[in-house]
């Protein structure tokens, strides 16, 4: 009963695109998510999706490739980048064909705008709701295809033996019961891990890297975990994202003296570092879009205005917006090959949790939505092909969740430790890093790991126990933190988002 040919964990953009393409191949597909599909991180993507359509001035696939490689600082896999950029137009046309409401030009073409690091206006957008409208349209498409999506199932472990994967164990959040889902192939599409920085991140509280740590536990390889993009313009108090399109449209960055200090359209790593230097010199930093005018702001940046008013009590039409760089996107992730396959038979990964090698040391704005459409298709097709050629692998052991609530000896509050860990990571494993700071972070992680047995779940109710879910997420975060700091220490050379001062 709990069997499907292809099982997908995660129902954000990557998971749903993979599901649709796997379904096209005629296999039985099931999707599990710890939230609901339309609550996934993809809904927060604002600025756009890159494709060299040339609707707003001359552009080419080659320029897109070169911009992406340049931003990636030599760390990208050129073959994968070429595959992504070459398929970008088809990806956008496919989204358009299924009903995504892209903004239009006067000539009835898909409108495009300029984002940082791009040589032309390449990002197709739907106001500043691009991710939301893509995600919801994908969801509608999955309903049209009657694809089974089960909500509120938290991934515990990937079940496999030497022959390959046989499924997953999950915690049904509503009932509190552990369930096993078997499949011939498995796609991890669980998103990134920016919430290791706790409140210093633009991301949803759900971005705890659950799929990455489950993959690590079952023997998959991780790559470039230290490479984490800090978005230059998070709101100062709440870390909520103000889209890059604000700078793309001509917004300025100002310090306390009202001076500009950097070309605002450089790639994100450079802009973030320039801001960080200013802040360390005692400056407050602001985004200024007042000169763009109320009409433009209302038409192109409505969400930005609403969020600045709500969280900072400033109206961007009349006021400066206080900002700071915050963790936004994790380039590192599960290592996959040119078919989106991991080193484990039958296990695939896609989206932010995967490392396709297209972002290298620094992701270009507008390439993450593109990645999930292009590689979502690839992962969906690869996993269904595998399922057609292989049979179920019987699972060796019954995986059961340790009952976290049984810990009667709770001495430490993991919520407090999670917050402290986020602060430490923002300071020591953040925008600029040194050997000494990284060692300090590593020592702290080891100390916390040795104390995990003193932490636990206070809530004893089985039903919808968010205390338990958050503890499981915390433990995943801890595993990821260890990998991040280890990779950061190994990588002695500064490159893109990983900047070593020593």
């Amino acid at each position: 009963m709990n069997k499907s040919d292809v099982l997908i964990i995660g129902a954000g953009g990557a998971g749903l695109v993979a599901a649709l393409h796997a379904h096209e191949k005629g296999v039985k597909v099931r999707v599990l998510t710890k939230e609901y599909p339309t609550r996934s991180q993809t809904c927060m993507a604002q600025a756009g999706i890159n494709a060299s359509l040339g609707n707003a001035g001359e552009d080419s696939v080659e320029s897109h490739v070169q911009n992406t490689l340049k931003s990636a600082r030599g760390m990208a896999n050129e073959k994968a980048v070429r595959h992504m950029c070459k398929n970008a137009s088809d990806a956008v046309m496919w989204l358009d064909s299924i009903g995504v409401c892209f903004s239009r030009t006067k000539e009835a073409k898909i409108a495009q705008r300029t984002l940082g690091g791009a040589s032309s206006s390449r990002a197709c957008y739907a106001q500043d709701y691009t991710g939301l409208k893509i995600l919801h349209t994908l969801y509608d498409r999955c309903l049209a295809k009657n694809i089974e999506i089960l909500n509120e199932k938290f991934l515990l472990d990937i079940i496999k033996n030497e022959e390959g994967v046989s499924g997953v164990s999950v915690l049904d959040i509503r009932s509190g019961e552990v369930e096993v889902y078997e499949s011939k192939s498995l796609i991890i599409a669980t998103g990134g891990y920016s919430r290791i920085y706790d409140k210093h991140s633009t991301n949803s509280t759900a971005s705890s890297g659950d799929g990455i740590s489950a993959a690590l536990r079952c023997g998959a390889k991780l790559k470039d975990m230290a490479f984490i993009q800090f978005h230059p313009t998070g709101l100062k108090a709440s870390s909520i994202l103000i889209s890059e399109s604000a700078r793309g449209a001509g917004g300025y960055l100002l310090n306390s003296n009202g001076e500009r200090f950097i070309n605002e359209l450089l790639p994100r790593d450079e802009v973030a570092r320039a801001i960080d230097t200013q802040i360390k010199n005692g400056q407050n930093i602001f985004l200024d879009i007042r000169h763009l005018g109320e009409d433009f702001i209302n038409e192109e940046l409505p969400q930005e205005r609403k969020l600045a008013l709500l969280y900072e009590n400033v109206d961007p039409v009349h006021d400066l917006i206080p900002i700071k760089p915050v963790a936004h996107y994790t380039m590192g992730g599960i290592e996959v090959d040119t078919s989106s396959s991991t080193c484990i038979k039958g296990l695939y990964a896609v989206g932010e949790c995967a490392n396709q090698g297209v972002h290298g040391a620094n992701r270009l704005g507008g390439n993450s939505l593109l990645e999930l459409v292009v590689f979502g298709k690839q992962a969906g097709e690869s996993a269904s092909l595998y399922a057609l050629e292989n049979d179920f692998i019987p699972k060796d052991t019954l995986y059961e969740l340790r009952d976290e609530s049984e810990n009667k000896n709770i001495k430490l509050d993991f919520y407090k430790i999670k917050e402290e860990l986020g602060e430490l990571f923002y300071k020591n494993v953040g925008i600029v890093r040194s050997k000494q700071d990284l060692f300090l972070a590593q020592t702290k992680i080891k100390e916390i790991q040795s104390q995990v047995h003193l932490m636990g779940v206070v809530d004893t109710n089985k039903v919808y126990n968010t205390n338990k879910i958050e503890f499981l997420e915390f433990k995943n975060i801890l595993e990821i933190c260890e990998q991040v700091v280890e990779n950061a220490l190994e990588t002695k050379r500064s490159c893109g988002a990983h900047y070593r001062v020593d």
Partner: protein, 230 residues
């Protein structure tokens, strides 16, 4: 600041916090006072639709509501309660499938103009937070009513010039659909995205009339088998 949360009983919490959103207050309670409190949250920026609750009997997103002393917080209505402030949205979301809220004809040949795109721009801002189902008095008494966000979604696709078969969409929403709405406008008042499902339902009624349907509440317009008389 004191707020009360409807759990198995009404529980009062006292929180020391300045100006803050309800979500920030709930998180503070959860992490520092009562780890058993259950609520849903995600993006903190009013876009994922996870944190809709009722404050003083009005639907809001916890992440965009500034808490006032004395507020009473409850889960959404008309949706199965799982625990505390968490409801099961599966049934409400199923109405999107029942209403066939998707583009039926996939084509690359239709070019959208700026005007075409603006027709359903606001409807595509919907975040499926469920506030409209909680506020809907029709859904409260008829749990087969397709409901506000599903009907808004149908209008979004009917209005899309890329849709070649809008009639089929209109056919789907005649029963337990547009004619069951009382146009009370409660859904509009609670929508965090300023969408008016009531207005969308009126547009679908006009469109249905163009396709030969009439309001079944005026029974004379129907034959015995329920099909409309033209």
């Amino acid at each position: 600041m004191k707020i009360s949360i409807q759990r198995e009983t009404l529980v009062q919490y006292e929180v020391e916090i300045g100006e803050a959103t309800l979500l920030e207050v709930l998180q503070k309670i959860k992490t520092t006072q009562d780890k058993t409190l259950s609520f849903s949250s995600g993006c903190r920026s009013s876009i994922c639709g996870s944190c809709s609750v009722r404050v003083n009997q009005k639907e809001v997103l916890a992440c965009s509501y500034k808490v006032q002393d004395g507020d009473v917080i409850e889960a959404l209505k008309n949706t199965p309660l799982i625990r505390d402030l968490v409801v099961d949205m599966d049934k409400a979301l199923d109405f999107n499938a029942k209403a066939k809220a998707w583009l039926s004809s996939i084509t690359n040949s239709v070019a959208l103009t700026q005007e075409n795109e603006k027709i359903n721009e606001i409807q595509s801002d919907c975040i499926l937070c469920g506030s409209c189902y909680s506020a809907c008095p029709v859904y409260a008494v008829n749990d087969e009513f397709l409901g506000p966000f599903a009907l808004t979604r149908v209008w979004k696709y009917v209005a899309d010039v890329r849709e070649n078969e809008p009639k089929a969409k209109v056919d789907t929403i005649q029963t337990n659909g547009i004619w069951d709405c009382t146009l009370c406008n409660e859904c509009t008042l609670v929508c965090p995205q300023d969408i008016s499902s009531k207005t969308d339902i009126e547009k679908l009624r006009s469109r249905s009339a163009m396709d030969g349907y009439s309001d079944p509440n005026f029974a004379s317009g129907f034959r015995f088998d329920g099909s409309p008389i033209f």
